[in-house]
Point group: C2
Chain length 145, copies 2
DNA sequence: AATTAAATGCAACATTGTTGCAAAATTGTG
DNA sequence: CACAATTTTGCAACAATGTTGCATTTAATT
Protein backbone atom coordinates (compact mmCIF):
# COMPACT_ATOMS: atom_id res chain seq x y z
CA UNK A 1 0.00 0.00 0.00
CA UNK A 2 1.40 3.44 -0.92
CA UNK A 3 2.22 5.72 1.98
CA UNK A 4 0.08 8.64 3.04
CA UNK A 5 2.20 11.29 1.48
CA UNK A 6 2.00 9.76 -1.96
CA UNK A 7 -1.76 9.28 -1.70
CA UNK A 8 -2.38 12.85 -0.57
CA UNK A 9 -0.32 14.04 -3.51
CA UNK A 10 -2.12 11.83 -5.99
CA UNK A 11 -5.49 12.95 -4.66
CA UNK A 12 -4.58 16.56 -5.07
CA UNK A 13 -3.13 16.11 -8.49
CA UNK A 14 -6.00 13.96 -9.73
CA UNK A 15 -8.62 16.48 -8.66
CA UNK A 16 -6.77 19.34 -10.30
CA UNK A 17 -6.09 17.44 -13.48
CA UNK A 18 -9.82 16.89 -13.82
CA UNK A 19 -10.58 20.53 -13.25
CA UNK A 20 -12.12 20.10 -9.81
CA UNK A 21 -11.50 22.29 -6.83
CA UNK A 22 -9.80 20.53 -3.97
CA UNK A 23 -12.03 20.20 -0.95
CA UNK A 24 -11.97 18.16 2.22
CA UNK A 25 -14.88 15.92 1.17
CA UNK A 26 -13.61 15.28 -2.33
CA UNK A 27 -10.15 14.47 -1.09
CA UNK A 28 -11.43 12.02 1.48
CA UNK A 29 -13.73 10.26 -0.95
CA UNK A 30 -11.15 10.09 -3.70
CA UNK A 31 -8.69 8.71 -1.17
CA UNK A 32 -11.09 5.88 -0.44
CA UNK A 33 -11.04 4.95 -4.10
CA UNK A 34 -7.27 5.08 -4.28
CA UNK A 35 -6.93 2.82 -1.26
CA UNK A 36 -9.63 0.45 -2.40
CA UNK A 37 -8.51 -2.07 -4.99
CA UNK A 38 -12.03 -2.67 -6.25
CA UNK A 39 -15.31 -0.85 -6.52
CA UNK A 40 -17.29 1.08 -3.92
CA UNK A 41 -20.99 1.59 -3.47
CA UNK A 42 -22.58 4.67 -2.03
CA UNK A 43 -23.55 2.63 1.02
CA UNK A 44 -20.00 1.44 1.60
CA UNK A 45 -18.66 4.97 1.29
CA UNK A 46 -21.12 6.11 3.92
CA UNK A 47 -19.94 3.33 6.20
CA UNK A 48 -16.30 4.26 5.74
CA UNK A 49 -17.14 7.91 6.26
CA UNK A 50 -15.68 8.58 9.68
CA UNK A 51 -15.36 12.28 8.90
CA UNK A 52 -19.12 12.78 8.91
CA UNK A 53 -19.44 14.01 5.36
CA UNK A 54 -23.06 14.69 4.61
CA UNK A 55 -25.00 12.04 2.73
CA UNK A 56 -26.01 14.56 0.10
CA UNK A 57 -22.43 15.63 -0.42
CA UNK A 58 -21.46 12.04 -1.10
CA UNK A 59 -24.16 11.77 -3.76
CA UNK A 60 -23.06 15.00 -5.36
CA UNK A 61 -19.39 14.13 -5.17
CA UNK A 62 -19.92 10.77 -6.85
CA UNK A 63 -21.89 12.51 -9.58
CA UNK A 64 -19.15 15.11 -10.01
CA UNK A 65 -16.45 12.46 -10.14
CA UNK A 66 -18.40 10.51 -12.73
CA UNK A 67 -19.05 13.57 -14.84
CA UNK A 68 -15.42 14.57 -14.81
CA UNK A 69 -14.13 11.11 -15.73
CA UNK A 70 -12.52 10.29 -12.40
CA UNK A 71 -14.69 7.28 -11.68
CA UNK A 72 -17.16 5.20 -13.63
CA UNK A 73 -20.28 3.32 -12.66
CA UNK A 74 -20.64 -0.43 -12.81
CA UNK A 75 -24.07 -1.91 -13.40
CA UNK A 76 -25.02 -4.77 -11.12
CA UNK A 77 -27.86 -7.22 -11.13
CA UNK A 78 -29.02 -6.37 -7.64
CA UNK A 79 -29.75 -2.75 -8.19
CA UNK A 80 -26.78 -1.36 -6.29
CA UNK A 81 -24.68 0.94 -8.40
CA UNK A 82 -20.97 0.56 -7.89
CA UNK A 83 -18.28 3.10 -8.63
CA UNK A 84 -14.66 2.52 -9.48
CA UNK A 85 -11.66 4.57 -10.48
CA UNK A 86 -11.19 5.13 -14.17
CA UNK A 87 -7.97 4.45 -15.89
CA UNK A 88 -6.01 7.55 -16.81
CA UNK A 89 -7.42 7.44 -20.30
CA UNK A 90 -10.83 8.54 -19.09
CA UNK A 91 -11.74 12.17 -19.47
CA UNK A 92 -14.85 14.20 -18.82
CA UNK A 93 -17.65 13.08 -21.05
CA UNK A 94 -15.68 10.24 -22.56
CA UNK A 95 -15.29 7.17 -20.45
CA UNK A 96 -13.08 4.40 -21.68
CA UNK A 97 -14.10 1.81 -19.17
CA UNK A 98 -14.69 -1.04 -21.53
CA UNK A 99 -12.96 -3.53 -19.35
CA UNK A 100 -14.45 -6.53 -17.64
CA UNK A 101 -15.96 -6.22 -14.19
CA UNK A 102 -15.75 -9.23 -11.97
CA UNK A 103 -18.03 -9.71 -8.98
CA UNK A 104 -16.98 -12.41 -6.54
CA UNK A 105 -19.82 -14.52 -5.23
CA UNK A 106 -17.98 -15.25 -2.01
CA UNK A 107 -16.50 -11.97 -0.85
CA UNK A 108 -18.89 -9.82 -2.90
CA UNK A 109 -15.89 -7.81 -3.99
CA UNK A 110 -15.89 -6.19 -7.38
CA UNK A 111 -12.69 -6.07 -9.35
CA UNK A 112 -11.94 -4.16 -12.52
CA UNK A 113 -10.04 -6.51 -14.79
CA UNK A 114 -8.22 -3.73 -16.57
CA UNK A 115 -6.18 -5.97 -18.75
CA UNK A 116 -8.89 -8.37 -19.82
CA UNK A 117 -10.00 -7.32 -23.24
CA UNK A 118 -13.67 -7.10 -24.11
CA UNK A 119 -14.10 -9.15 -27.28
CA UNK A 120 -15.77 -7.72 -30.32
CA UNK A 121 -19.32 -8.96 -30.51
CA UNK A 122 -21.11 -9.57 -33.77
CA UNK A 123 -24.48 -7.83 -33.65
CA UNK A 124 -27.58 -8.54 -35.73
CA UNK A 125 -28.33 -6.44 -38.80
CA UNK A 126 -29.19 -2.86 -37.93
CA UNK A 127 -27.71 -2.71 -34.46
CA UNK A 128 -24.76 -0.44 -33.89
CA UNK A 129 -22.75 -0.76 -30.70
CA UNK A 130 -21.56 2.16 -28.64
CA UNK A 131 -20.19 1.04 -25.31
CA UNK A 132 -19.94 -2.54 -24.16
CA UNK A 133 -20.05 -3.61 -20.53
CA UNK A 134 -19.19 -7.09 -19.35
CA UNK A 135 -20.11 -8.33 -15.90
CA UNK A 136 -18.83 -11.67 -14.72
CA UNK A 137 -19.96 -13.41 -11.57
CA UNK A 138 -17.76 -16.08 -10.10
CA UNK A 139 -14.94 -16.72 -7.69
CA UNK A 140 -12.04 -14.29 -7.50
CA UNK A 141 -8.40 -15.13 -7.09
CA UNK A 142 -8.44 -14.28 -3.37
CA UNK A 143 -11.39 -16.54 -2.58
CA UNK A 144 -10.20 -19.56 -4.45
CA UNK A 145 -9.64 -22.40 -2.05
CA UNK B 1 -49.19 -9.13 -32.63
CA UNK B 2 -50.74 -12.41 -31.48
CA UNK B 3 -54.45 -12.32 -30.74
CA UNK B 4 -55.89 -12.23 -27.25
CA UNK B 5 -56.93 -15.82 -27.16
CA UNK B 6 -53.46 -17.11 -27.87
CA UNK B 7 -51.87 -14.81 -25.31
CA UNK B 8 -54.34 -15.74 -22.60
CA UNK B 9 -53.60 -19.39 -23.32
CA UNK B 10 -49.84 -18.89 -23.24
CA UNK B 11 -50.06 -16.96 -20.00
CA UNK B 12 -52.02 -19.72 -18.36
CA UNK B 13 -49.80 -22.45 -19.64
CA UNK B 14 -46.59 -20.63 -18.75
CA UNK B 15 -47.67 -20.02 -15.19
CA UNK B 16 -48.68 -23.63 -14.71
CA UNK B 17 -45.58 -25.01 -16.32
CA UNK B 18 -43.53 -23.06 -13.79
CA UNK B 19 -45.59 -24.34 -10.89
CA UNK B 20 -47.32 -21.08 -10.12
CA UNK B 21 -50.98 -20.65 -9.33
CA UNK B 22 -52.88 -18.61 -11.88
CA UNK B 23 -54.08 -15.32 -10.46
CA UNK B 24 -55.38 -12.11 -11.94
CA UNK B 25 -52.26 -10.09 -11.11
CA UNK B 26 -49.81 -12.67 -12.35
CA UNK B 27 -51.70 -13.14 -15.59
CA UNK B 28 -51.82 -9.43 -16.26
CA UNK B 29 -48.16 -8.89 -15.51
CA UNK B 30 -47.03 -11.89 -17.50
CA UNK B 31 -49.19 -10.70 -20.36
CA UNK B 32 -47.30 -7.41 -20.36
CA UNK B 33 -44.08 -9.34 -20.86
CA UNK B 34 -45.55 -11.42 -23.67
CA UNK B 35 -46.77 -8.33 -25.48
CA UNK B 36 -43.57 -6.40 -24.88
CA UNK B 37 -40.76 -7.29 -27.24
CA UNK B 38 -38.10 -6.01 -24.87
CA UNK B 39 -37.51 -5.55 -21.19
CA UNK B 40 -39.69 -3.92 -18.55
CA UNK B 41 -38.81 -2.05 -15.41
CA UNK B 42 -40.87 -2.06 -12.26
CA UNK B 43 -41.70 1.58 -12.93
CA UNK B 44 -42.93 0.85 -16.43
CA UNK B 45 -45.09 -1.99 -15.20
CA UNK B 46 -46.69 0.33 -12.68
CA UNK B 47 -47.39 2.81 -15.44
CA UNK B 48 -49.01 0.18 -17.62
CA UNK B 49 -50.97 -1.11 -14.65
CA UNK B 50 -54.47 0.04 -15.49
CA UNK B 51 -55.96 -2.71 -13.36
CA UNK B 52 -54.74 -1.13 -10.16
CA UNK B 53 -52.58 -3.99 -8.98
CA UNK B 54 -50.93 -3.06 -5.72
CA UNK B 55 -47.35 -1.85 -5.85
CA UNK B 56 -46.30 -4.48 -3.37
CA UNK B 57 -47.89 -7.22 -5.43
CA UNK B 58 -45.87 -6.14 -8.44
CA UNK B 59 -42.66 -6.38 -6.44
CA UNK B 60 -43.59 -9.80 -5.16
CA UNK B 61 -44.73 -11.02 -8.54
CA UNK B 62 -41.50 -9.98 -10.22
CA UNK B 63 -39.60 -11.78 -7.47
CA UNK B 64 -41.73 -14.88 -7.90
CA UNK B 65 -41.31 -14.85 -11.67
CA UNK B 66 -37.57 -14.47 -11.32
CA UNK B 67 -37.34 -17.27 -8.76
CA UNK B 68 -39.34 -19.61 -10.94
CA UNK B 69 -37.37 -18.93 -14.08
CA UNK B 70 -40.05 -17.07 -15.98
CA UNK B 71 -38.14 -13.81 -16.26
CA UNK B 72 -34.59 -12.70 -15.63
CA UNK B 73 -33.10 -9.43 -14.46
CA UNK B 74 -30.89 -7.20 -16.54
CA UNK B 75 -28.38 -4.96 -14.80
CA UNK B 76 -28.21 -1.40 -16.08
CA UNK B 77 -25.79 1.40 -15.48
CA UNK B 78 -28.41 3.80 -14.20
CA UNK B 79 -29.61 1.80 -11.27
CA UNK B 80 -32.91 0.67 -12.77
CA UNK B 81 -33.27 -3.09 -12.81
CA UNK B 82 -34.97 -4.40 -15.91
CA UNK B 83 -36.82 -7.67 -16.29
CA UNK B 84 -37.31 -9.71 -19.42
CA UNK B 85 -38.83 -13.02 -20.36
CA UNK B 86 -36.54 -15.99 -20.21
CA UNK B 87 -36.16 -18.37 -23.06
CA UNK B 88 -37.86 -21.69 -22.54
CA UNK B 89 -34.61 -23.21 -21.39
CA UNK B 90 -34.76 -21.32 -18.11
CA UNK B 91 -36.03 -23.16 -15.08
CA UNK B 92 -36.34 -22.33 -11.42
CA UNK B 93 -32.96 -21.71 -9.88
CA UNK B 94 -31.13 -22.11 -13.16
CA UNK B 95 -31.25 -19.18 -15.50
CA UNK B 96 -29.72 -19.54 -18.91
CA UNK B 97 -29.83 -15.91 -19.82
CA UNK B 98 -26.32 -15.53 -21.05
CA UNK B 99 -27.32 -13.64 -24.09
CA UNK B 100 -26.47 -10.09 -24.97
CA UNK B 101 -28.67 -7.24 -23.80
CA UNK B 102 -28.87 -4.23 -26.00
CA UNK B 103 -29.99 -0.83 -24.72
CA UNK B 104 -30.84 1.73 -27.37
CA UNK B 105 -29.63 5.23 -26.62
CA UNK B 106 -32.39 6.80 -28.68
CA UNK B 107 -35.58 4.95 -27.75
CA UNK B 108 -34.22 3.62 -24.44
CA UNK B 109 -35.61 0.27 -25.38
CA UNK B 110 -33.87 -2.85 -24.17
CA UNK B 111 -33.70 -5.84 -26.44
CA UNK B 112 -32.58 -9.34 -25.63
CA UNK B 113 -30.37 -10.50 -28.46
CA UNK B 114 -31.20 -14.14 -27.96
CA UNK B 115 -29.13 -15.35 -30.84
CA UNK B 116 -26.03 -13.33 -30.22
CA UNK B 117 -23.58 -15.55 -28.45
CA UNK B 118 -21.61 -14.33 -25.47
CA UNK B 119 -17.98 -14.96 -26.29
CA UNK B 120 -15.74 -16.87 -23.95
CA UNK B 121 -13.55 -14.46 -22.07
CA UNK B 122 -10.07 -15.31 -20.94
CA UNK B 123 -9.75 -14.43 -17.26
CA UNK B 124 -6.58 -13.76 -15.25
CA UNK B 125 -5.04 -16.52 -13.16
CA UNK B 126 -7.22 -17.50 -10.22
CA UNK B 127 -10.51 -16.12 -11.44
CA UNK B 128 -13.27 -18.57 -12.24
CA UNK B 129 -16.34 -17.38 -14.14
CA UNK B 130 -19.88 -18.32 -13.26
CA UNK B 131 -22.37 -16.25 -15.18
CA UNK B 132 -21.48 -13.65 -17.77
CA UNK B 133 -23.65 -10.66 -18.60
CA UNK B 134 -23.04 -8.43 -21.58
CA UNK B 135 -24.67 -5.03 -21.88
CA UNK B 136 -24.32 -3.06 -25.06
CA UNK B 137 -25.35 0.55 -25.50
CA UNK B 138 -25.92 1.86 -28.96
CA UNK B 139 -28.52 2.36 -31.66
CA UNK B 140 -31.05 -0.37 -32.31
CA UNK B 141 -32.36 -1.50 -35.66
CA UNK B 142 -35.60 0.44 -35.26
CA UNK B 143 -33.88 3.75 -34.52
CA UNK B 144 -31.35 3.60 -37.27
CA UNK B 145 -31.91 6.46 -39.63
C1' DA C 1 -6.86 40.27 2.27
C1' DA C 2 -11.04 40.93 -0.34
C1' DT C 3 -14.10 39.39 -3.91
C1' DT C 4 -16.34 35.93 -6.52
C1' DA C 5 -17.76 31.52 -7.44
C1' DA C 6 -18.32 26.96 -5.96
C1' DA C 7 -19.19 23.38 -2.52
C1' DT C 8 -21.28 21.92 1.72
C1' DG C 9 -24.78 20.94 5.29
C1' DC C 10 -29.32 21.01 6.60
C1' DA C 11 -34.12 20.30 6.18
C1' DA C 12 -37.65 18.77 3.77
C1' DC C 13 -39.33 16.02 0.36
C1' DA C 14 -39.85 12.25 -3.34
C1' DT C 15 -39.11 7.75 -4.79
C1' DT C 16 -38.22 3.02 -4.21
C1' DG C 17 -38.29 -1.20 -1.80
C1' DT C 18 -39.71 -4.16 2.51
C1' DT C 19 -42.50 -6.41 6.24
C1' DG C 20 -46.59 -8.07 9.00
C1' DC C 21 -51.05 -9.22 8.94
C1' DA C 22 -55.97 -9.66 7.89
C1' DA C 23 -59.01 -10.44 3.89
C1' DA C 24 -59.65 -12.57 -0.47
C1' DA C 25 -58.69 -15.77 -4.09
C1' DT C 26 -56.89 -20.24 -5.83
C1' DT C 27 -56.15 -25.13 -5.71
C1' DG C 28 -56.93 -29.81 -4.57
C1' DT C 29 -60.27 -33.06 -2.70
C1' DG C 30 -64.43 -35.37 -1.62
C1' DC D 1 -69.84 -28.13 -6.87
C1' DA D 2 -68.83 -26.96 -2.26
C1' DC D 3 -65.32 -27.25 1.33
C1' DA D 4 -60.94 -26.88 3.59
C1' DA D 5 -56.10 -25.81 3.25
C1' DT D 6 -52.93 -23.00 1.34
C1' DT D 7 -51.40 -19.19 -1.20
C1' DT D 8 -51.84 -14.60 -2.81
C1' DT D 9 -53.30 -9.97 -2.34
C1' DG D 10 -54.02 -5.28 -0.46
C1' DC D 11 -53.30 -2.24 3.08
C1' DA D 12 -50.65 0.20 6.38
C1' DA D 13 -46.64 1.27 8.21
C1' DC D 14 -41.97 1.48 7.78
C1' DA D 15 -37.03 1.59 5.95
C1' DA D 16 -33.85 2.83 2.65
C1' DT D 17 -32.35 5.52 -1.09
C1' DG D 18 -32.08 9.51 -3.85
C1' DT D 19 -33.31 14.68 -4.82
C1' DT D 20 -33.98 19.82 -4.31
C1' DG D 21 -33.71 24.63 -2.41
C1' DC D 22 -31.37 27.62 0.26
C1' DA D 23 -28.36 29.71 3.71
C1' DT D 24 -23.62 29.14 5.23
C1' DT D 25 -19.01 27.91 4.54
C1' DT D 26 -15.03 27.08 1.84
C1' DA D 27 -11.84 27.40 -2.06
C1' DA D 28 -9.81 29.91 -5.99
C1' DT D 29 -8.61 34.41 -8.11
C1' DT D 30 -7.00 39.02 -8.17
Amino acid sequence: MPDKHTIAQSVNELLKRHGLSVTESRSRILEMFLREPGALSHALIEKKNSAGIDRVTIYRTLQTFTDSGLIHTIPTADNAVLYALCRDACTAGAHHDEHVHFICEKCRHTTCLEHTEVPRIELPEGFRAGSVAVLINGTCNACRE
